[in-house]
Amino acid sequence: MTGAQILIECLKREGVEVIFGYPGGQVLPIFDKLCDAGFNFILTRHEQGAAHAADGFSRATGKVGVCIATSGPGATNLVTGIANAYMDSIPMVAITGQVKTFLIGNDAFQEADVTGITRPITKHNFLVKDVRELARIVREAFFIASSGRPGPVLIDIPSDVQLADTEFIWPEEVTIRGYNPTLFGHPGQIKKAAKLISQAKKPILYAGGGVITSGAHHELRELAERIKAPVTMTMMGLGAFDGTHELSLGMLGMHGTAYANHAIMNADLIIAVGARFDDRVTGRLDAFARGAKVIHIDIDPASISKNVNVDIPIVGDAKNVLGQLLEEIKNKPDASDWLKTVEEWRSRHPLRYKEDGKIRPQFVIEQLYEVTKGNAIITTEVGQNQMWACQWYKYLHPRSFISSGGLGTMGFGFPAAMGAKLGCPESLVFDIAGDGSIQMNIQELATCVCNKIKVKVLILNNGYLGMVRQWQELFYKKRYSFTTLYNPDFVKLAESYGAAGMRVTKKEEVRPAIEKAIAIDNTVFVDFHIEPEENVYPMVPAGEAIDKMISGLA
């Protein structure tokens, strides 16, 4: 078999069904074999779209996302998408073509040192120099991408390796001596944690994306209900715990709910599960939750005690560790006074916005929640649209919220929505976008229409790069430096691609427009002309403690 045939065979054996990509000179042999290989191959209009789509597919399904691009510019166009997946621990395999082995290092046409470029943004990467290594490398790539703390793995394949012949040997087992993720918590640590939990007076669960990755949402819910602890989530953790549950405090951090921030700042025990105390969560570190002991459950030892000192570190898979903890916890903490205090914060500082005749973005998202009853997959771009989507939609299920967390990549939401829709064709998929972000990968409209990927894009159009404008308003004396946008007619633009477009300029049109977008059997853009200078509140100014929030309607 040739290298290209071996690659195809390996992808099949790994269970790959959907591949996103873009052809080019150094992947011609692979594309020649892809043509009739039976995958659902989605030709995007930009390699970045392919990477984000593979990422979105993975987040929606839990499977490994696969994307492919040619050497040089094809590969460098994947870079943002790979970095995005890396920061959010998303399993992905990116395949790139490379110039022929004897040309590597010669500054050949469309050559780039892609393994070099992607070294700090991949979990691991490979340059295949010998076709006999290809099958083993593909097998290892999928194993590394999807196990432990998942992440993207890149395989760079020179075109002569794609054409070289060898016997195909499928390695049944993968053993990598330097790679053995710890899956179960240390029993001694579990005992200590259980004891600490039973003594806590003011416990809080702080859940991150790791809960979703590991499928630990049932265990999380059981633990929360058993010990009667409120649950707050990172942005990556939204959906890990039912947002309508009485113990849910929603998201915490810079744009989190005031009650979540007050609760974690005043807790005496933080049980962190699959979260990493990111700076957007902790605010000023030396002021963060000073009275709390910390139990930190994470599969990545390097995430533990990186930012916040931890009393009881537990390395392991969240689902396993929570299961072990549930078996060990005998005495429940008495936290009824604590829950009362938390409820007071909730009723004193609810999320709110000005309800008048104008189209407020929060209202649009609330309406979306009501119309879909929380049963949709929501992707977002990055900025105000993203934070409003975090605050005003209630996520009931894991994998129903898909957003660029660590890297904060504008232009992620639309291709990610495509990927999610292909992974979950039965689900309604919405991309909550801003007028800035949507233009960063708007070319994927063609991909959607060609492949009948009927995602619905709700553009919260304020004519600004809203989040940057908000910072300029609050911290730079309203000097709006290059944050005002000239926009195309999004309705006509959608229509020119063969998608449907709608414009909404009146509040009473919001809900009917959402209903109509769902009813239309096509990719839909809805252009909501929202109140231009609406801000995201509450907000913790950069470098402040997270209970020092500014709120818009004080």
Binding site: T115, R119, P120, I144, I176, G178, A302, S305
Partner: protein, 157 residues
Amino acid sequence: MRHTISVLVENKFGVLARIAGLFSARGYNIASLSVSETLDPGVSYMTIVVEAEDEKTLEQINKQLNKLIDVITVTDFTKKEHVDRELVLAKVNYSFKDKAKLENILGKYIGKVIQHKGDTAIIEAVGDQKQIKDLLSELVKFGVKELVRTGRLAMTY
């Protein structure tokens, strides 16, 4: 504070870049680095001396090294009983009147003249951190024209 860490890695191309990248991406400074094959040609042994301001930084370095797929084991020598050695080559002035003095000093530090030509000699010396430091401070008096050091090697009991 300086710490010595040894890392057993897969002997593959790009591994050194992965390790070096890990340090540079986080702003950690490598004071010395030595890499060589082991008896198993598939495995290389690296001894890295790093500057780490505190325990937390050192812990992160350890954990991040362990995260690399090509890293097999990481050993931190800080709290372990170990020996360390470094080899130094130096080109020094070797005039007739200083000859005896120099040889006397080298004798103290397991060093010797390995080659000399005219009034210049290349000397070698092996020692631990302190010995090498002391030797260098004495050698300076003779006029050091060139100096190369292997960086520290270390081994636990």
